[in-house]
């Protein structure tokens, strides 16, 4: 199985954000800052744990830039998957 591309990772995140936090997909876009869509650091941690469960991977590197965007989270997941591949 290949590494999911960024679009697939984004779709996974959007599905989870909609289901868990009622954050609509048209709000949860790559440029959206996490804090602007209502996500605090613990919620981001929850998102990471969900990604781990859904993709069956362990995210070793969970470093995000300050004032991160959803696109930064997508990049983080992809970065971890590439290291593992």
């Amino acid at each position: 199985m290949g590494i999911p591309d960024s679009e697939n990772i984004l779709a996974t995140l959007q599905g989870f954000l909609a289901e868990r936090f009622d954050i609509a997909a048209d709000v949860a876009i790559p440029d959206a800052r996490l804090r602007d869509i209502g996500l605090d650091s613990m919620m981001v941690l929850d998102v990471m744990m969900e990604v781990e469960d859904q993709l069956g991977v362990k995210l070793d590197d969970v470093t995000l830039p300050r004032d991160a965007t959803l696109g930064d989270v997508v990049a983080l997941v992809r970065r971890n998957l590439e290291v593992r591949a």
Partner: protein, 427 residues
């Protein structure tokens, strides 16, 4: 006696309870003596127990971004706090900076959250909780969330002295206002602990009431010869306390004055109450309020309907009120709402406030044959209507031995307000 500017008045009440989801409904239940006690069961427990259940889920009141942090206890506390604020005409506290506080009492805090997590750990073998779980289960989660939402920037303090928790919260808040540290405070308590583990914990004590075989709503019978124990309940109650000067400045009316606070500990046993400690709290509240025993118009008892507890409190009342005992009307409203634990003192003080507001004495429900060891002047089965109340006292006694007594008195300086309610419809 002329009022003092720093006297504490009560300008708002919020209640979510098994006998009403707001103060008006609660008042109607006191007047009709309607019990909110019903059968509670769990697939994990073989025994069904009577409990004071709020048969409603409140999660739809909050967004999904708020809910991860909100145990049911925090949900009902938040809603009761909002009611009290709305009743007092306060939208937020930010402008009060450190002059506004929140004093809260609870026994278990986020009990359901903790129960669910422990189950995940032991049954599902989950080794790491969700990031929010620790915060949602904290004893001080509810006041923290309320303070964040409504910008209460002064002291936000959680008291836990078992069944007197919210009494201590209210008392300490009133002292902070009276001593000049605060202008206003939300004070009260909450409990939402009807989970199999918590109920089974209590069952170990053999102090829970049996379900009445004919009518479960009659299962909690304080002072009664045939009482079988206490009934666990859930609920949240907040009062808005403020200095008279502050209420006057805001141009708002008050229900009454919070006129006294007495706190005393038994120093005796962790699970057995002692009349000496209770009597000391009662003497302290009378002294604090400047009242003689014969001036108290109504006494709301802690009386949980246990075999051991009710006679101890009765003895304390007789000791303190002495010759005035025979004239002192007494009731325990737990017969209809059960034991709210962390919310117990607060709901019972609310009953006293409404007694003053509506000139009636709430009754002890299901009191057909009084235990001779609990001989007092009981308001039994029906409230006494058209009975002016100048001063009311409520006692709460917690496991561990912390006893809290609070007094409320008719307010004669500020405008007073009433709750719309039709007393004449009550039988």
């Amino acid at each position: 006696m002329a009022g003092h500017a720093r006297d504490v008045v009560i300008t708002g009440i919020g209640i979510l309870s098994p006998v009403g989801l707001n103060v008006t409904e609660f008042r109607q239940s006191l007047l009709s003596n309607r019990s909110g006690i019903q059968l509670w069961e769990s697939p994990q427990l073989s025994r069904r127990i009577p409990a004071g259940v709020i048969g409603k889920d409140f999660s739809s009141e909050f967004s999904k971004l708020e809910l991860p942090y909100m145990d049911r206890c925090s949900q009902i506390a938040m809603l009761a706090a909002r009611q009290a604020m709305a009743d007092a005409g306060i939208e937020q506290f930010a402008d009060h900076a450190q002059r506004a506080g929140l004093y809260y009492g609870s026994v278990g805090g986020g009990v359901k959250t903790e129960h669910d997590w422990v189950r995940q750990f032991h049954v599902d073998h989950v080794e790491g909780a969700k990031p929010y779980t620790i915060m949602a289960s904290m004893l001080n989660a509810a006041p923290a969330l309320i303070s964040i939402k409504h910008k209460i920037l002064g002291p936000v303090i959680t008291n836990s002295s078992a069944c007197s928790s919210s009494g201590a919260a209210i008392g300490e808040a009133s002292r902070a206002i009276r001593d000049g540290y605060l202008d206003l405070a939300l004070a009260g308590g909450a409990e939402a602990a009807l989970t199999p583990t918590f109920v089974a914990l209590w069952s170990g004590l053999r102090a829970l009431a049996e379900a009445d075989p004919n009518d479960v709503s009659r299962s909690c019978r304080p002072f009664s010869l045939d009482r079988t124990g206490l009934v666990l309940s859930e609920g949240a109650v907040f009062l808005m306390l403020e200095s008279r000067a502050h209420a006057e400045k805001r141009g708002v009316a008050a229900y009454c004055r919070l006129s006294g606070y007495g706190i005393a500990s038994d120093g005796y046993h962790i699970g057995t109450p002692h009349s000496q400690g209770q009597a000391a709290a009662l003497r302290a509240v009378l002294a604090d309020a400047g009242l003689r025993p014969d001036q108290v118009s109504y006494y709301n008892a802690h009386a949980t309907a246990t075999r051991g507890g009710d006679p101890v409190e009765s003895a304390a009342v007789r000791e303190v009120f002495a010759d005035a005992t025979d004239q002192l009307p007494v009731s325990s409203t737990k017969g209809i709402h059960g034991h709210l634990l962390g919310g117990a003192s607060a709901i019972e003080l609310a009953a006293c406030v409404l007694a003053i507001e509506g000139s009636f004495l709430p009754a002890t429900a299901h009191l057909d044959a009084v235990d001779p060891e609990c001989a007092l002047r009981h308001v039994a089965n029906r409230p006494w209507l058209d009975t002016p109340v100048e001063h009311a006292v409520s006692l709460s006694a917690g496991f561990g031995g912390t006893n809290v007594a609070l007094a409320v008195s008719k307010e004669h300086e500020l405008r007073t307000k009433n709750i719309a309610g039709d007393v004449s419809t009550i039988t």
